[in-house]
Amino acid sequence: MVTRSSDEVPRTTMLQRFPVPRNLGVGPESRIKRGRTWPAPLGAVRVKTFDIYRYDPDAGDNPRLDSFEVDLDACGPMVLDVLIWIKNNVDPTLTFRRSCREGICGSCAMNIDGTNWLACTRFVSDTRSRASIYPLNNMRIIKDLVPDLTHVFAQYALIEPWLKSKTPAPVRERLQSPEERRRIDGNWECILCFCCTSGCPSHWWNADRFLGPAVLLQAWRWLVDSRDEATGERLDALEDPFRLYRCHTILNCTRTCPKGLNPGKSIAGIKKMLLERRT
């Protein structure tokens, strides 16, 4: 009932999804059709069914939901291990991003059982009895579980995430007190997996203009970095009814961050900064 950290998986659910039609408001090319079922291999004892979103750009069909019966004794404990087992043993066309397998690269971010997390740090034992795997929400899908992240990365480039200073660089380091260095803690650790941004309802409705929690968290990271000298210009660029102020403190972002970061808090900091500079 009271979630203390984002890695907690709720044991009971009052409502698994909002009571809306499964294909509510989607364009014709996005309607999800029923897919095929891939049965478990013979002799498998611990079997679990995974419903996985599939889309094949070469076939020209709509996306579909395939059901895979997985032999849990044959694969590792994480959802990513299940995906790799399926790709190796059942359907080699299953496509997904992955790299580090330890929750630091952000490649395998996807929607598991209705919330966004990294597949490599989500235990299979923490998923529902019939687990569902979808790609990150509200993204154009290249294939299967691979979203097109071009736009969100363009929004990241928009905030100019690098140190801006006119003061010539010192011979050695730009000095920073431990206090000043602590101000970027909780922000530099972001792995840009975009779980938060794709889970933000405001970003669902205004993805083209709202920057989203991941980008705004990084914007805050550069605003509070004491070595940066362009704070005013950064705030000018953010002060926009859509870029920043589409955030209504819904806080899905903080709830879903697989690294335990707090984008909601950082965005509140930006809003406070914008108020204080004109009061």
Partner: protein
Amino acid sequence: MRPLSPHLQIYRPQLTSVLSFGHRLTGVVLGIYAVVLVAWLLAATTGPRAYSRMHDFMQSSVGKMVLVVGSFCYFLHLCGGIRHLFWDSGRGFELRTIYISGWAVVAASTALTAAAWIVGAHVAR
């Protein structure tokens, strides 16, 4: 054209998103009640006949239902609004606090609505 992955259709409702939507919904509904408030003031200005028509509707069971719903919307939006004001001041963002304050808003709104109607029924007698 590439398909768009589902969002509202499959995302799990959580205390965060549900309470936020509730805050917005109650705000819009209270806007309608604001119109009712102005209508009530107009009826009071116009005269006893206009006022008694409105008064009779408020006393009917439909009217009472309307008022009960309105009062719950008001208390939910009030408590949720205070929670929002804390966030705007930068406080209460730890996940544990978000959840405790969220459930507190639901509990307080229900309790305040019940209390208001119990007191009101007592006064009306």
